[in-house]
């Protein structure tokens, strides 16, 4: 737990954002936005970067494959655009916002485990050009997402 918080602090320092310390294992970074399907998004002007959260990678297990979308493809908020494979399961990755894919993290083809070891940094999955900046308002902030994860885990 302490090691994970140190890792998160280093990531946060690099990204120049603050970290929320939570009572349970997964790390949530402030200044990111989160979807209920456990993807995170970082907005930078009219571009957004996304990936899956530390909570998601922890529950999924070791990721052995990432299916990436084609460049130029449109993605829609809440809809699947790719998948990760872990523990004999393919799990959809859903887009937290709508837009056009402008960059994919090709490194994940050879090193899918980055999704586990560095979900908010080296394990980013795609970057998009936003088509509707207002959609970000529908996402959760770090506090709401932390609570969401706690409630989800508590019911199982």
């Amino acid at each position: 737990m302490a090691a994970r918080f140190l890792w998160a602090s280093r990531v946060a320092s690099h990204l120049r954002i603050s970290v929320a310390q939570r009572g349970f294992a997964s790390v949530v970074l402030k200044d990111l936005k989160y979807a209920e399907s456990h993807e995170w998004v970082k907005i930078d002007g009219n571009k957004a970067t996304f990936g899956i959260t530390d909570h998601a990678q922890d529950h999924l297990g070791d990721v052995v494959y990432v299916e990436l979308p084609d460049l130029g493809r449109s993605v829609s908020q809440g809809e699947s655009f790719g998948a990760v494979e872990s523990v004999k399961a393919t799990s959809d990755i859903n887009s937290p916002v709508s837009g056009k894919v402008v960059e994919v993290n090709e490194v994940l083809t050879e090193s899918p485990g980055l999704v586990n070891t560095s979900p908010y940094e080296e394990g980013w999955i795609i970057k998009v050009e936003l088509s509707d900046a207002g959609e970000v308002e529908k996402l959760m902030d770090s506090d709401k997402y932390s609570k969401f994860c706690e409630e989800e885990d508590a019911t199982h």
């Binding site: 529950h59 494979e85 859903n94």
Partner: protein
């Protein structure tokens, strides 16, 4: 309506005449709870081609909002089925596969490679996450649930367990399973090795990712035949019964599927072409 009338009749009778009205009331509530089990549609197939079965499953997962149990008693011809990320050059003895024209499918779920035929038994479960309380839509949680379900089917027979995500008797695997998880639903499907042709196993290479308990054994030393442990019809009926303890089962005919699954959906399962297999063998492509 008839069932609810019966419930209230029983409730009134037990409260008036049982002398233990509290206990009688609780028993009637238990029966009423059975009426509120989520619905599971059951499709029974026999000898359906595995490609057709997988297309059906992907359609029901993505384009239906109901729960499904699909049982296919054997497939028509020997067929190799790889997981989503499978690479033929790494997993298959491509020379013999192409020479003998064995079909190769890439399916929409994760996991490894199997060769299936008329002796294989298939059971697939497609569930809404909210209809399986206590199970999170993540692979290990789903497998813990399915392991428990099949534990009921095999009832402690010969060391049945879910071992490193495989269904085994002792240290021998008899069932290959895989899953696909979308936002609010998931599928867990299994190919059970009722029997198999040793010659068919020769089409498969030893995979690079193997469970620890495999201990470098080749296919014939690692797997076992389910027919040595349970009768075929017994297994099917016990499986349906075990599922029926958690769901209210309703038989559905394949011809009626269109009314349950409408609209377009992502289609990932496909048959690899001979050209793709040839390119994989010559090492000219990374994608197939």
């Amino acid at each position: 309506m008839f069932l609810f009338s019966r419930f209230f009749e029983e409730l009134i009778f037990t409260r008036r005449f049982s002398g233990k009205s509290s206990k009688g009331f609780k028993m009637s509530i238990s029966r009423a709870n059975d009426l509120r089990l989520p619905l599971m549609n059951l499709i029974r197939l026999k000898g359906t081609p595995i490609l057709e079965q997988l297309h059906l499953e992907e359609r029901l997962l993505r384009a239906s909002s109901e729960n499904w149990c699909i049982v296919n008693d054997g497939t028509n011809v020997p067929t190799i089925v790889m997981g989503m990320s499978g690479k033929p050059s790494q997993l298959l003895e491509l020379g013999p596969v192409m020479k003998d024209q064995i079909p190769v499918i890439k399916r929409f779920t994760g996991g490894g490679t199997v060769i299936v035929d008329k002796s294989t038994l298939f059971v697939s479960l497609i569930c809404n996450k909210d209809d399986v309380p206590g199970v999170q839509p993540y692979p290990r949680s789903v497998m813990a649930w399915s392991g428990s379900l099949y534990g009921e089917v095999f009832g402690g027979v010969n060391g049945f367990q879910l071992r490193e995500n495989d269904y085994v008797f002792g240290d021998r695997k008899f069932g290959g399973n895989a899953q696909s998880i979308i936002k609010n639903r998931w599928i867990h499907h299994t190919s059970f090795l009722w029997d198999y042709n040793v010659r068919n196993m020769a089409y498969l290479k030893l995979p690079s990712r193997v469970p620890q308990y495999r201990l470098e054994r080749d296919h014939t030393e690692f797997v076992c035949r389910m027919k040595d442990y349970i009768e075929r019809s017994d297994f099917i009926e016990k499986t349906v019964k075990a599922v029926g303890k958690q769901f209210a089962m309703k038989q559905v005919n394949l011809e009626d599927i269109d009314s349950y699954a409408k609209g377009e959906h992502v289609k990932s399962t496909r048959l690899l072409t001979m050209e793709e297999l040839q390119e994989a063998m010559s090492g000219t492509t990374q994608s197939a």
